[in-house]
């Protein structure tokens, strides 16, 4: 028998190889058939096919990505942020617990689609490691939610940091821009803020990015030209008015910024304003907007903000729900109750105060006369007419115009006695500078100081300094316009809203001067409402507006009416809005 040696041998098998004789079949059944024949059985066709198993020989294909060589110096051995007593920020007691195992990753934004760019973010170390190895010192360790905020800002070219007031938006922005400058991703940064906050920002920049040279753009035009032209200054700081005034100069100098940060960015909610146009004209790579109130009155506020942050991304015809969905990846909003669960509580008291007899009589006469006048005007009545009446009535709720009687002030005075006796400090807000003047006189025994737009920046800074340092000053009287934004007055435990602003967001900003990170204890907020007056009716409207802001930021359905419309105003006096004839 032939030995079978391999597949070739298998293929050449024949019956003969098996030494078998051909198979003979005798046809004995039918004698008429030809002589017996020999048939060969096709054994070859039964040869089994060979299966070849592929081995793991060829290496897999490899895709490669390169991220450039490092620009930062090699890291020192694990430095730990050292809390500094000199910090204007929260006290050391408010620092987050050390040794947290939470690691914060910088994720690629949704609009980054190239895989190589997404890998750039994904493959970075966590933020805690980046901070530790970057030789960056902070006045205090950032809170975990603040690291989340930095991880949100860092990869984004268009971002709205919309944290509730007091959560440290400026610190998060400064630390993020500091990392960008450090890594060479930003060399020219412009920070734009309201005029009254320039010194505040300069101080915050010095605290949170001490190694960065900052040029504040101010003074006469020649000086500003020189300041704008400074090439070796990584951070420039300007107020909105300067940016508007120097719009042509900035263009003439051909300035381009790697990053523009807008503080209190609700300032550009009116798209046609000079301010909005001027900041949108800035040539920039990244656009970050900081605001605690991305939606102040109307959904369009957010659309306007996005004309700076991500032009064309949102439009006015989108529903609130669609707006929320489209903006979601660009907006980060946290509230104190969500991220600072151990922050001292804010206690709200709505105090309904009966007008004094004098006030009540004056109020009744003014309202009756005003409503009669509006009724008489009929279709000629304007919103301005209604506003005038509202303002007049609100003023009477503060002080009787004839006698100066004020039930609110009587109440405030009594409450401040307790504040002073306990060694605490209080903030009192009003929309009128004139009201603040009256209060200052009557509250002189509490060392009342004023802070409003009618004062120079120097005088205002001095007032804040005295209020902060001197125990004899228990009360600071502020106007909503000047005092509602940017001030860190967390050493105050009481806030009184002597009268109400038109917008709940502004009221929140005012309250959060005291109720913010670093607050020494519970903050008690007292909102005075004159019973049975226009103030109660306005309060109803304010509640509706607060709902709108929550709706868009939570991507839920909005109420049909979201702003203080003409109808709302007329309804305050149970009047039907005038019907104009069609043109």
């Amino acid at each position: 028998m032939t030995a079978i040696r391999g597949t070739d041998s298998l293929r050449s098998w024949h019956a003969a190889d098996l030494a078998l004789p051909p198979v003979a079949v005798t046809r004995a059944i039918d004698p008429r058939l030809p002589s017996p024949a020999t048939l060969r059985l096709p054994i070859e066709q039964a040869v089994p096919a060979v299966v070849r198993l592929p081995l793991l020989e060829a290496p897999p294909g490899v895709t490669s990505f390169s991220f450039g060589l490092p620009t930062a110096p090699p890291p020192p051995p694990r430095p730990r942020p050292v809390p500094s007593a000199a910090s204007a920020g929260p006290a050391a007691d408010d620092a987050p617990p050390q040794g947290s195992q939470k690691r914060t990753r910088v994720a690629a934004p949704r609009d980054v689609v190239k895989l190589s760019e997404r890998f750039f973010f994904l493959l970075q170390p966590d933020l805690e490691t980046i901070l530790e190895t970057s030789r960056l010192e902070f006045p205090r360790p950032p809170f975990p939610f603040q690291l989340d905020g930095m991880a949100f800002l860092l990869p984004r070219h268009g971002a709205v940091l919309a944290d509730e007031m007091g959560l440290g938006k400026s610190m998060q922005a400064i630390s993020s821009l500091r990392l960008l400058v450090r890594s060479g991703q930003a060399r020219r940064v412009l920070v734009v803020c309201p005029k009254g906050l320039v010194s505040n920002w300069a101080r915050e920049l010095a605290d949170w990015a001490p190694e960065l040279v900052v040029a504040t753009i101010e003074g006469e035009q020649g000086r500003r030209r020189w300041q704008w032209s400074l090439a070796d200054v990584p951070v420039k700081l300007a107020n909105y008015e300067v940016v508007v005034r120097d719009r042509d100069l900035v263009a003439e100098l051909g300035l381009e910024f790697d990053l523009v940060v807008l503080d209190e960015a609700q300032r550009i909610k009116n798209r046609s304003s000079h301010t909005s146009q001027a900041v949108r004209a800035l040539k920039r790579g990244r656009s970050w907007a900081l605001t605690g109130t991305p939606v102040e009155n109307r959904a369009e506020d957010l659309v306007s903000l996005f004309e700076f942050v991500a032009p064309g991304h949102l439009h006015d015809r989108m529903s609130p729900k669609a707006l929320g969905a489209a903006a979601a990846d660009h907006v980060l909003r946290r509230t104190k109750d969500k991220v600072l669960t151990d922050m001292p509580p804010r206690l709200n008291r709505d105090e309904r105060i009966e007008l004094s007899p004098e006030q009540r009589e004056t109020y009744r006469l003014a309202e009756e006369e005003g409503v009669l006048r509006l009724s008489a005007l009929g279709n000629e009545a304007t919103i301005q007419n209604v506003f005038e009446l509202v303002l007049r009535l609100k003023q009477i709720c503060n002080f009787d115009t004839a006698t100066g009687a004020s039930a609110k002030l009587d109440c405030l005075e009594a409450e401040l006695e307790e504040v002073q006796a306990s060694g605490r400090k209080a903030l009192v807000f009003s929309q009128w500078v004139e009201t603040l003047g009256r209060l200052e006189k009557r509250l002189a025994r509490f060392g009342a100081l004023s802070y409003h737009g009618g004062m120079s920046t120097v005088a205002r800074d001095e007032a804040i300094g005295r209020f902060r340092r001197d125990k004899r000053h228990s009360v600071l009287l502020l106007s909503y316009g000047a005092g509602a934004v940017g001030l860190n007055l967390q050493f105050s435990q009481y806030v009184f809203l002597f009268d109400r602003w038109w917008n709940p967001a502004i009221e929140d900003q005012a309250i959060n001067r005291a109720h913010r990170i670093g607050a020494a204890g519970a903050v008690t907020v007292t909102r005075y409402l004159s019973a049975g007056t226009i103030e109660e009716r306005i309060d109803e409207v304010l509640r509706t507006k607060r709902d709108l802001s929550d709706t868009i930021l939570s991507q839920a359905e909005a109420p049909a009416s979201s702003g203080l419309t003409a109808d709302d105003l007329f309804a305050l006096f149970k009047l039907a809005p005038p019907r104009r004839a069609a043109a």
Binding site: P59, T63, F65, P70, P74, L122, P125, T133
Partner: protein
Amino acid sequence: MDQAATTTAYGFLTTVESPTHGLFGGYLLVDPAGRPLEFHCTAPVKVSRAQQILYGATLQGHLHGGQIGAALLAAGSLAPRVVLTDVESMLTVRAHTSLPVALVTAADPGTGLAQGSACVTGPTGDEAAALHAAIEPLAAAVDLREPFDRIRAAIDEAQRH
């Protein structure tokens, strides 16, 4: 001087099993601060049942070290001071490279070279001391097991992309 030659780099080499696609390999090169310099990943390798039977116990070593690991190390343009892996069978890549390769596992006092929360098991004797010295700057900056998470996240992202 060639900048790539003077850059201090560390390599992290691992594999990620995908139930649908097969086995991916990832190789991340980082600087001493743990920041990415290069990333290389393989196309997925799917092993058939027959191959599993044929290779038997040698499959893992051949697949990880001989196939995926060797291809990835060959793709790197920087020569790291050490290549760390968290897959034991990847150590067979030593047969295909002159680079020192060490295994990183969760810290277990008494074994290997403790580096923070990680434990590095590598060559023995004098080589071990050299390896320890090479890893020290990086271990001072990052948790040595953390970069493997980044590789896994990147491969996961690549599958969804």
